[in-house]
Symmetry: C2
Subunit: 366 residues, 2 copies
Amino acid sequence: MLNTVTETLLMGPGPSLVSQSVRDAMARPTIGHLDPRFIAIMDEVKSMLRTAMETGNDLTIPLSGTGSAGMEASFVNFVEPGDAVLVLINGVFGLRMREVASRLGAKVTALEFDWGQPVVPGRVRAALAAGSYDLVAVVHAETSTGVRNPVEEIAPIVAGTDALFLVDTVTSLGGVPVSVDAWGADIVYSGTQKCLSCPPGLAPLTVSERGRDRLRRRTSPVPNWYLDLTLLTSYWEGAKRSYHHTAPINMIYALHQALANLIDEGLDATHRRHAAAHERLAAGLPRLGLSMLVDEGSRLPMLNAVTVPEGVDEASIRRRLLEEHDIEIGAGLGPLAGKIWRVGLMGETARSEHVDRLLAALGDVL
Amino acid sequence: MLNTVTETLLMGPGPSLVSQSVRDAMARPTIGHLDPRFIAIMDEVKSMLRTAMETGNDLTIPLSGTGSAGMEASFVNFVEPGDAVLVLINGVFGLRMREVASRLGAKVTALEFDWGQPVVPGRVRAALAAGSYDLVAVVHAETSTGVRNPVEEIAPIVAGTDALFLVDTVTSLGGVPVSVDAWGADIVYSGTQKCLSCPPGLAPLTVSERGRDRLRRRTSPVPNWYLDLTLLTSYWEGAKRSYHHTAPINMIYALHQALANLIDEGLDATHRRHAAAHERLAAGLPRLGLSMLVDEGSRLPMLNAVTVPEGVDEASIRRRLLEEHDIEIGAGLGPLAGKIWRVGLMGETARSEHVDRLLAALGDVL
């Protein structure tokens, strides 16, 4: 059955195209998780993640799960039962944050915005003036709608309070600047299968010193042994590394190579490439009679929500793109199911030739 | 740094050697997690896992984390705060079960046995006669000591109660029979990097119908969104699959190939190969003046605890094996640190030529 797997142009909401160098890295021989050579690779991964996330945070590691495990870890370590949490919601991933925090016994306040519209900083300021919170959480790139939330405007508002600031950068990291230290964000997680162009399976996470202080002051044990950051750091930090769980060795090889590729190209150049691919797509869609869901100022370059025209069966278009053109694009989620396609221009996918191939294929099947 | 990674004979407690076919599978092109071709691969993985675990359980899937995520999922889904849990402990992984269950608010009773000795069924019977439990948990192959616990004798004792029976088969699956249905076990998890000879990163899990009933009768939400089995089954089961999290696509390719290799060779033949490698090692150690920690009747074939001779610096021996012979063996954990080496004969590692190479290398460095 594995021989059915052939090169497909991945233009959905992730995974994105994975380059041959990353696939080759992943296929290198497995070595032990405490082998000195592997420890050296781990140290380089941490260092390259700090570059990618623009942070000096010591605690900057990939967790052994997908981006959703990053969300889980971010709440389960930093929220205790009864803590007041403010979640800014304008899509599926904001809703998921509310669900994750609620299950952990937090008192969650949801500040909701229209799907397809960005979070409004003024409303965040008003909410933080009206109530006291232990943590404020927002999704930088809302993958369900294609909206870029103004984290750089929200950050200084949260910084004026005692709340920790938690940011989901699963879809943004590698495609637009993720400036953890400049934002003053305390907990930031991501995923590997979006703009890092690595297969899914790991969740990069970084935590500020303020975040670590909060962790040290917890009064209850973290109710998740697997994602307990204090235990994880005994494996990822320090001169003597202790076994916690067996790290996903080959996935970490892949992330190492993906980060090296990103840094080789340069963050600025990578961001420009994402922007250029997006602009090429945005310019081409109207020629096919298609339009974007999100207003120009709030669009994400790597996740483009394209409105499905009246009378078009969106699923059959996706099926034909996949079967006849080897191109995958994504469906809408939740209230946007059936109403939009989600076109990913992430990592290796974000190249003009791929945009042109999609536009030509759409012209064929529409 | 990745070019420092070369073929190493992995004879530690996992990861084990990964065959080229599995590495090639892992390096195949990434496709979408809802691509019909990937759904077909998932279905084959489920089916092959049922064969490997000797079960007809519908709910038989790989979780998106390492073996320790399997442990976490097994407790967090099936234990609610205040539940009475009996954990049988004779090593690090039994202790870990106690820790995981305690963090979830269970009332945990630990029935402890000497490290290096197996669980005694009579004491389990007495404990279950004296108290009422919602769940009984045991480790089949205690990786920290090399002891095989008599799950087949414990199972009928637990079956006479209302408790769910949870078994850790991280190290045993693929090396000795894991007979989930014959045992009547309700929740059984494993890992990929031991006798399945696949890189670390996934946790096979199977759940009986009785286990699923318990899950449906929960009164509180599972306090772990990422590992919530009810949500996971909406992605892994049924005609219409819903997005939960992005599956680790390439790791699942690797598991698919590893399971196909196991089934091609045949479970019985694979188990015989593990037994033969173990016997060859056990026969060779005395010639080097070395002995095994565990009594013959309770030894695991795939994890051999070898006593460090008086006056020998165990760490320097491990280092020399790695640096001079490209062979990794494992150290002792907890109270056995410094006292034993752990020699893994798992999956592809369990071959006579590897045993001979280790014995020769040990003869050289001792």
